[in-house]
Symmetry: C2
Subunit: 337 residues, 2 copies
């Protein structure tokens, strides 16, 4: 995994799945039963258990910390609830609200995150399986903080972009600092790879993305301890901004399933490793079809300096466990090199 991220030679792509520790797994649902999502995030034992489940139950070759992108946000002084997406009691719309945001050290404000990471590393010590940490990207965090909740158009956020650009810039700068601190603290605690999730940046046109999102990604790529852990960038629904994603300068660009992996690998694969990009709904296909798709993805990704096999979006609640197993089995069945 680490070699693939850094573009060093490997026999075949490693495989894991975004949101692999999730509701589609019966063993996950058993641990979650009767526990709120927030309590799950803070319960070190349960979080460690569900983070590790995908290794044995579906054959994942990397573990990702169980947590939410909004975990570090309440400590800024923002009241957040989950229903199930983040809901902000008092959405940020004024300069006074941005100025009032605190800058806590995540090691002190969310110590459980780093306990989970340390415990996961202890339990993974005897196995050749790397641990991924992650954070939400500033634009996505700002999207929820300004809009107040998820939305199809995020028009309140975009209204701010047009009418109060300096306010949005100040908010994004504050969130970029938080993201850098949070990722570096995860690396310090033992995360061996880190992924930046930008769920809503794909709502922007390429020109707006270049103005509002790319500088934040570039700053994070420059300030995160990349010697300690390679950095992956994922932008949901980002097929139209792949060229801009590559310019962020991360080690890996993780592609939405709507991207043409072969084309991106040819165009940009010499300077960045790629991750992805099967449609999670493609796991409803037959085992034979999944094997065939994995062989196609392997060929599509071959021009890239490195390829991490993954979905082009997180597992969904109705993702079939057998499909996930077929996916990881298919990757392991690939011919070496």
């Amino acid at each position: 995994m680490l070699r693939a991220c850094r573009g060093e030679p490997v026999d075949r792509p490693p495989v894991w799945l975004m949101r692999q520790a999730g509701r589609y797994l019966p063993e996950y649902r058993a641990v979650r039963e009767g526990v709120s999502f927030l309590d799950m995030c803070r319960d070190v034992e349960r979080a460690v258990t569900v983070s590790l489940q995908p290794i044995d139950f579906v054959g994942a070759e990397a573990v990702i910390l169980f947590q939410d992108i909004f975990t570090p946000i309440p400590a800024l002084g923002v009241d957040v609830d989950f229903a199930p997406g983040p809901v902000i009691a008092d959405p940020i719309r004024t300069r006074a609200q941005v100025d009032a945001l605190r800058s806590p050290d995540p090691r002190e404000s969310v110590p459980f995150v780093f306990e989970i990471i340390r415990e996961l590393r202890r339990q993974l010590a005897s196995r050749d399986i790397p641990l991924l940490g992650f954070a939400g990207a500033p634009f996505t965090l700002a999207a929820y903080l300004v809009e107040g909740q998820g939305s199809r158009s995020f028009s309140t956020l975009k209204k701010m972009l047009h009418q109060q650009p300096d306010l949005l810039r100040a908010l994004l700068a504050h969130l970029a600092d938080l993201t850098v601190d949070y990722l570096n603290a995860q690396i310090e605690a033992g995360a061996q790879v880190v992924q930046l999730f930008d769920t809503w940046a794909g709502l922007l046109s390429p020109a707006e993305y270049r103005e509002w999102v790319l500088p934040g990604h570039q700053e994070i790529a420059a300030r995160v301890d990349r010697a300690g852990a390679p950095l992956i960038l994922y932008v949901n629904d980002g097929a139209h901004v792949v060229d801009e994603m590559v310019e962020a300068g991360t080690d890996v660009v993780s592609l939405d399933w709507r991207c043409d992996l072969a084309g991106v690998a040819k165009r940009h694969g010499h300077r960045v490793s790629l991750q992805g990009n099967l449609d999670p709904c493609g796991l409803h296909a037959s085992r034979e079809q999944i094997f065939e798709r994995v062989r196609e993805l392997r060929e599509a990704g071959r021009p890239a300096r490195g390829h991490v096999m993954n979905l082009g979006h997180g597992c969904l609640p109705d993702t079939p466990v057998d499909g996930v197993r077929a996916f990881t089995d298919a990757v392991r069945a690939l011919d070496p090199a």
Copy 2:
């Protein structure tokens, strides 16, 4: 408008806005008050009134029939409600359900649509303003019919695509016939341009789009009376399938705001006219900024054989009326040729 659609010389692009007859307009809300959406669609007088409002209230240079893409569906024998998107009481999941779908003549099953068109043409007779008709594309209609309602991932639909491909193909074929009949009946009644709306086809990868969507679009482009009315194709969130959209062979391709208009105009503008593509949220900008964006869009679209100025998505309930007026004013203020 007709010249721009067909790629004949014009002084400047014409302008209208998708969903220009909608909730953002106070005059529309006044007519809608206390009337259900379904009743609005069937009420010839009210539908005519709201269709015409955007000419005088926001300066639109084309009128689009007020109606819903699901209007012709109940007559197939499917129980549809609006809440506010379509909700299907008994989603289509079996061969028997597809075989049971009726093939009514839309002239008989939804006669009010054609009455509205004829009345609009009468009222527009003295004005140089063309009338657009429209239909939902087969994939989008099938998406709702199979899923039962709107969805972020449409995983039931995609599951059918993988597990019952012949069933989905049969459903799409039935809906393509309906769409052709429905559009031709609109043209016969007086629609001078027709637009095909594919709201959910952008959920597919380019390879899946080519297999599941493009053939339907090509069939519709071949069978619709294009001598009677040029055909526009719009795919929501379709920046990654623009090359495939062009292959449909329609007169105009209408671009989502996430598309790079300049790039598409250079690549494909010699063989297709383009429509779009301001982000509706861009109408929250100042009048000066909107004028500047319209000048940029005009330059971006210049390599195309024709350009119809429009949004890259429909107007939203919170779209500011002043922004819409600034948009149409800006187009009228463009220097000729």
